[in-house]
């Protein structure tokens, strides 16, 4: 049983059809991870017992595999009577896992802003909340854009894990075809090439945006 190119070509439309699910999962997970990561970083900066707890949580997340988190959420939530769709659980899992990494990105982004900015805001009696929203966040966004882009590509490459939870993204579709036809080689090759192409395109886009931001910063 050799590699059948005609069959491989015939699987392309079905697998490409799932590209929307793959990209939706990528973008929603990235947004979720950013929101959660920023919240974690703010609590960590606040210090005290909550800060210490979040510091440990971030280290814990970063020391454990994403697959274990997906299994954990997928089997543990129903145990407590929380029934969510596979896609929702998948996005929650990726958001939680990558929030640990993005908290570190936000940490570096904020640390790179001169301390004088915060001191100036305090001297003008701007509240802590307003300082974060109007002084720190806009400047931080430029610092974190590049690493955030890299994590967007990482999250794209992590979406095939969702196939394990039966989310019909590209790898999931490839496995559907494989189990119907008993041919694994062709759909998996197509899925591999499509994921590679998507990751390269996204990485290229991220690099372009990064260059533009660096050019803007140099003015």
């Amino acid at each position: 049983m050799g590699f059948n190119f005609d069959f491989a070509l015939s699987t392309i439309p079905t697998i490409i059809g799932a590209i929307g699910t793959t990209l939706l999962a990528t973008v929603l997970s990235c947004l979720g991870a950013s929101a959660l990561g920023f919240t974690f970083e703010m609590i960590r900066r606040g210090g005290g017992a909550p800060g210490l707890a979040v510091r440990f949580l971030i280290d814990f997340i970063r020391s454990t595999p994403v697959l274990a988190w997906l299994y954990f959420l997928y089997f543990v939530l129903p145990f407590y009577g929380i029934r969510l769709g596979a896609m929702t659980v998948g996005i929650l899992g990726l958001s939680l896992y990558y929030s640990g990494y993005l908290a570190e990105v936000f940490k570096a982004g904020i640390d790179a802003i001169p301390k004088g900015q915060q001191e100036a805001a305090r001297a003008l009696s701007v509240t802590r909340r307003d300082t974060v929203v109007f002084v720190i966040a806009p400047q931080m966004l430029r610092n974190v854009a590049a690493p955030l882009g890299n994590y967007l590509v990482s999250i794209l490459k992590a979406t095939p894990y969702l196939a394990i939870l039966a989310v019909p993204e590209m790898l999931g579709r490839a496995f559907d075809i494989a189990s119907e036809t008993y041919r694994y080689a062709e759909p998996l090759t197509v899925a591999g090439i499509l994921f590679l192409a998507l990751a390269l395109i996204l990485a290229y886009g991220v690099r372009r945006i990064e260059q533009r931001l660096l050019a803007a910063g140099r003015r």
Partner: protein
């Protein structure tokens, strides 16, 4: 609870075995490809970059399935352990090679020029002056890559290797308490990976005292 822990620990051997074999592929790949990418220009550099980018840009799960299901069709049958070590190792090696290359590039040109002024050959400059400095500066990245590799071994459960994740799934099929089982699995990985991260931070502070407070994992 004790049976759960014992069950998961049975998989620790495979987890560590895949990590160790993965490093056998990762370390030479990272060093050779990182150095070659640094030294060469033109066509050679393009080809080396293409190979590195392939390993870095592919989704690991997809590659793992690809090697496990597609290679046999082409007449190459490798064991699940070999496939896992190869895919995870070369993926990790791809990332580490960029650390090696970036580390070499970040060295001031004066380092090389001083070597040339002393009459050292190009390989001697590379092995005696450039690489040692680059490797020390890149050690935090290598620790990150090692932790990534340990965590990625959880994927080998998908190609039938009986690692910790596989054992956890196995116990979950007979036991009714997924909360305890999957919490124990997360904890087991934490217990393996966190000491590596702490050792890395310690090492970073040790070899580079002037770098100030080391960043997270």
């Amino acid at each position: 609870m004790l049976d759960i822990w014992l069950g998961i620990l049975q998989g620790l051997g495979i987890t560590l075995e895949v990590t160790a074999y993965g490093l056998v592929f990762a370390v030479p790949f990272a060093l050779v490809f990182g150095v070659v990418q640094f030294l060469t220009t033109g066509m050679t550099r393009f080809l080396v970059t293409a190979v590195i980018e392939f390993w870095r840009s592919s989704a690991v799960v997809v590659l793992l399935f690809f090697f496990y299901y597609v290679l046999p069709v082409m007449g190459i049958t490798l064991s699940a352990l070999t496939v896992s070590a190869l895919v995870l190792g070369l993926n990790t090696g791809g990332y580490a090679s960029q650390a090696v290359r970036a580390g070499l590039q970040s060295l001031p040109a004066g380092q090389r020029e001083a070597g040339m002024a002393l009459g050292l050959s190009r390989p001697a400059i590379l092995f005696l002056i450039e690489l040692p400095q680059a490797l020390v500066a890149m050690s935090p990245t290598f620790v990150n890559n090692l932790i990534q590799l340990v965590k990625a071994t959880s994927l080998v459960s998908l190609v039938t290797l009986t690692d910790m994740t596989f054992r956890a799934k196995e116990i979950a099929q007979t036991d009714y308490d997924p909360v305890a089982i999957y919490s124990a699995l997360l904890l087991a990985f934490f217990v393996v990976c966190y000491p590596i991260a702490l050792a890395g931070r310690w090492l970073e502070a040790r070899v580079n005292p002037e770098r100030g407070t080391p960043r997270g994992i």
